[in-house]
């Protein structure tokens, strides 16, 4: 829209017509206070804090509802305005308790800040305050009614933002109250409750301490914590979560998770897992000492030195006697990129095996192959907020990727994006969709054929043939379509869908997976047939050449995948199994007896089903206790920072390095650190004997210093950047905590479409589960229990009164 010129506080400003005065002022660095205004939500004008004087208007006007106009002259801070705001505060404080010293919001409360600024400490109101007892609406949402200033932010956030509509406003005037959707008389315990997605966005939006979080309330004060912005460990969206940490006697404890500065890829949003499910770190079952199985079958705590010695010696012995091919390695979905890369490099160059896999939650290999040679065809999570039209095939973002769902809802609400959904289930996002096609069970394959032009497959795709035909027509007419693909689509179906999408101009793709670094695990080559960057094992890519040069046992053939590893174990062909941060025994229902003749080393936080079968358990740090980078399902790389700390545990990175060291590995070949010897010219690390040190040359060319420590994940990040196609990382962007979009597609000339098994096993997590890790989060168990108390919600079936 055309720009208009106006004057605020004597400053000449310009903003697009239609901009709200409060937003225009914010952009110009002029703060107008407001309680009820929240960017992106509907306007309320309930709090009257944002009043300003506009020339030629008879009364003070609310800046949050006034669009800027040509020639407007505005005053935002005059004695008259200060008096009006002070009067508003006095009215708000009429019923507000003075419990700031114990209130959770104390120190980061908007009402407190405004009272300090405008000085409404004295009040003319002598009436007694309207006190009510606090209410526990759910294990995570508590409501302190007297603190509420009735700004309606929570009501709008829940309705418009989350599309849940669990909060309403009841009664009238000064006795108005925010009410949850399960009233006391309808509840088994005669107390009001919320039946909702428990995201905690209402708590986030609350400008005061009326809504507080079950995990954090009364635990500490905001200024007593350090705040570390890192990436959530749970789903594949990779939202930024700010963890509040406090020192304890054995490390530092995470006491709060929230979306403090809203600077992350997730914008305003954070779901219940990012907000509350950090408590697994403090679970009583946490292993904090290395455990070695004794001859009597029991675990005994040993020192780190003893445990690592044993693992190193045993791995070396088994490699040398039974060969690297007899060893299996399984990595996790919550490792950092650096750890995943190091683990596969360790497996391939130190253990000498390609028997490496992870729990695959989406078929990224086919995705990367289908997009080989394409540029600008992969979508970032940020695109879900701006794309003019979006097609979702499969998946249920509301449950599996709440951040994606939030962005899509926001995009539909604010930008009128067109949403098209094809799913075999009536997923909740269909409420925002322009067109929804309910597919027959297992109808995805038929749908991809139908989209590609095979009319005969219409009947097996969906029962509504006319709807399906209209759906295809409208999708085909879209430009710059964003195509979100659920993990139901794999292999040939996935390639067919992408091939169809590539015929649409400007279409972009994303494949949704389940955990913080599921994408990274695939990108980093935790796969038996793919090296990092989807370079096929045995190919002649630069990366493969370097690996082969370092490989003792010339493992040029693809290794065993997850299932084959356990088959081999059952047949007695597996000498050792090295499991890093994964629980395959539970996930794949492995028979415990299969592993009885295998030397099993497990790096884990808890005594999981897999750890219970181990010979050595090495206590591991979780993603909140380490530094590195992760890649979300869209391919957005973000930095992970160390927040919590627990005495006794080690990061997976450190353990891999130390095991390699105990095996007598040339450490500089595994982790490129330090400078070569003075006379060496770097050959000690070179791919070929006598060749110059490629890494060192690359570092010099990039103007980077060699890393000093083998435990520095940045040393591996350097190598990832050097070798993995698509990981051309911007350091400044990464290290300042921002996200950057990467498109690691398979090298086009190396793509060979084979009939490989995709082995995708979706995690099927609900809003309140998160794989094995989720079991150890008390808050998630409480929420599951809470959810089981009431019948399944009718939320998705009912239209709401709110516009």
């Amino acid at each position: 829209m055309a720009d208009v010129n106006f004057i605020v506080d004597g400053k000449q400003l310009t903003a697009p017509a239609g901009t709200l005065l409060i937003e225009a002022c914010k952009s110009a660095g002029i703060e107008i206070p407001a309680f009820c205004y929240y960017p992106g939500l509907s306007l309320q004008a309930a709090c009257r804090m944002c009043v300003v004087r506009i020339e030629k208007m008879p009364k003070l006007q609310t800046a949050c509802t006034t669009p800027v106009a040509e020639g407007m002259v505005v005053q935002t801070e005059t004695p008259e305005i200060a008096q009006a705001r002070k009067a508003t505060l006095q009215l708000l404080l009429g019923n507000h308790p003075l419990d700031c010293p114990v209130c959770d919001a104390g120190g980061e409360c908007e009402l407190q800040d405004m009272t300090f600024k405008y000085g409404a400490a004295d009040s003319f109101y002598a009436e007694p305050k309207n006190h009510r007892e606090e209410q526990k609406w759910s294990p995570v949402v508590y409501f302190d009614r007297p603190r509420c200033i009735l700004c309606y932010r929570c009501v709008r956030m829940c309705g418009e933002g989350m599309d849940v509509f669990a909060l309403g406003i009841q009664n009238r005037g000064s006795s108005s109250v925010i009410a949850p959707n399960v009233p006391a008389q309808m509840s088994p315990d005669d107390l009001p409750h919320v039946d909702c997605e428990q995201c905690g966005m209402c708590i986030d939006a609350c400008p005061v301490g009326a809504l507080t979080s079950g995990t954090y309330r009364y635990k500490t004060r905001p200024w007593e914590m350090n705040h570390v912005a890192t990436v959530c460990t749970h789903c594949g969206d990779g939202c930024k979560t700010t963890l509040g940490v406090r020192s304890t006697s054995d490390g530092s404890e995470i006491v709060r998770g929230d979306n403090r500065d809203k600077s992350g890829i997730n914008g305003d949003f954070l779901c219940n897992k990012g907000r509350y499910a950090f408590d697994f770190a403090n679970h009583e079952g946490r292993i904090t000492q290395p455990l070695v199985r004794q001859t009597n079958g029991e675990f005994k705590s040993v020192s780190w030195e003893v445990a690592l010695d044993l693992v190193g010696k045993k791995f070396r012995e088994l490699r040398d006697t039974r060969g690297g091919k007899s060893i299996g390695v399984i990595g996790g979905n919550r490792l950092t990129n650096e750890e995943a890369y190091l683990l596969q490099k360790f497996a391939r160059t130190v253990l000498g095996t390609n028997n490496i896999d992870h729990h695959r939650t989406a078929d990224y290999v086919s995705f990367a192959q289908a997009l080989a040679g394409q540029t600008n065809r992969t979508a970032s999570l940020r695109d879900t907020l701006t794309a003019p039209s979006v097609l979702i095939v499969g998946g249920d973002p509301t449950i599996q990727a709440p951040g994606t769902a939030w962005n899509l809802r926001t995009n539909v609400r604010l930008n009128r994006a067109k949403l098209y959904i094809a799913n075999s289930e009536p997923i909740k996002l269909r409420r925002q969709a322009k067109a929804f096609v309910q597919l027959s069970p297992f109808g995805y394959s038929a749908l991809t054929s139908y989209l590609a032009g095979d009319d005969a497959s219409a009947s097996s795709a969906a029962s509504d043939a006319t709807g399906l035909s209209a759906f295809r027509d409208v999708v085909k007419s879209e430009e710059n379509l964003l195509i979100l693909i659920g993990s139901e689509l794999r292999g040939a179906d996935l390639r067919k869908l992408i091939a169809f999408g590539l015929t649409l101009p400007g279409a972009k793709f994303a494949l949704l997976s389940d955990y913080a670094n599921s994408r990274g695990a695939a990108d980093m080559g935790l796969l038996p047939d793919m090296l990092p960057g989807y370079n096929p094992v045995g190919s002649s890519s630069p990366l493969a050449t370097e690996y082969t040069a370092n490989t003792t046992s010339g493992s040029l053939a693809p290794g065993l995948d997850m299932l084959e590893i356990f088959d081999a174990a059952g047949k007695g062909d597996l000498s050792a199994l090295y499991v890093v941060n994964s629980n395959p025994v539970a996930r794949y229902g492995v028979d415990a007896a299969a592993l009885k003749n295998t030397f099993v080393v497990v790096q884990e936080m808890f005594l999981t089903e897999t750890a219970a079968l181990a010979d050595v358990i090495l206590p591991a740090a979780n993603l909140y206790e380490k530094a590195g980078s992760v890649t979300n399902s869209y391919g957005d790389l973000q930095q992970v920072k160390k927040a919590g700390d627990r005495a006794g545990v080690r990061t997976d990175f450190e353990m891999i390095v130390r095991i390699a060291d105990k095996m007598g590995t040339n450490m500089r070949a595994l982790v490129p650190f330090g400078k070569g010897l003075r006379a060496d010219m770097g050959q000690t690390r070179g791919a070929q004997s006598g060749e110059a040190d490629r890494h060192s040359i690359w570092l010099t060319a990039q103007n980077l210093e060699p890393r000093l420590s083998p435990f520095d994940p940045l040393a591996i990040l350097d190598e990832i950047q050097r070798l993995v196609p698509g990981y051309n990382i911007l350091r400044l962007q990464l290290l300042s905590g921002n996200d950057q979009h990467l498109s690691p597609a398979a090298p086009a000339e190396l793509v060979q479409i084979t009939t490989r098994r995709d082995l995708v096993l979706p995690a099927n997590d609900s809003l309140f589960t998160s794989g094995t890790l989720g079991r150890y989060s008390t808050m998630l168990s409480d929420l599951q229990h809470n959810e089981s108390l009431r019948p399944s919600s009718l939320l998705t079936q009912i239209q709401t009164a709110a516009d």
Partner: protein
């Protein structure tokens, strides 16, 4: 969609509701009249009524409760057979409205928004009922009584107790 199986309302009212939701540009505009009619039939707006109205209008029960709780004329608890509503707004106040209210409280033995144990009368103090010309005034169910004195009130109550009062709906 508007018809509901196993309606808790009488067939006549159910039919009326079926029609009501069709006559507004937005279905939810039928909410307030529905609540009033439901209260007239049931004596109050029960949880079951809230559920059925939400179903009929296709909104959330929470939305119904939000509106229901806003209006003081809508009740969520049963009132007496005859609901006595005494006006104490300015005209009635000047002409003795509080005297009438106090008299009612004493005679019926109940306070504001309370129901006598026998369930015949309930009492409510209300704002202006639009009978200022004949203040003080009260409304018993939908029937108006004006120019009141405590004596006249006693006569009225006896009349209703004897079953001779009008029961206007």
């Amino acid at each position: 969609m508007s018809t509901v199986a196993n309606s808790i309302f009488s067939p006549e009212l159910a039919a009326r509701f079926d029609h009501l939701v069709t006559i507004y540009p937005l279905r939810r505009s039928a909410l307030v009249p529905m609540l009033l009619y439901a209260q007239d039939e049931l004596g109050y707006v029960s949880d079951a009524a809230v559920a059925e109205i939400a179903e009929r209008i296709e909104i959330l029960e929470l939305d119904v409760r939000n509106v229901l709780s806003y209006y003081s004329m809508l009740r969520t608890k049963p009132a007496g057979k005859y609901n006595v509503q005494v006006c104490t707004n300015i005209s009635c106040m000047l002409r003795g409205g509080y005297e009438i209210l106090d008299h009612c409280k004493k005679t019926l033995g109940v306070g504001h928004k309370e129901t006598a144990p026998d369930g015949v009368f309930s009492l409510e103090e209300v704002e202006c009922i639009g009978a200022c010309c004949w203040a003080p005034a009260m409304q018993i169910n939908y029937d108006f009584h004006d120019d009141l004195t405590p004596e006249k009130v006693d006569v009225l109550f006896q009349m209703y107790r004897d079953g001779q009062g009008k029961d206007v709906k």
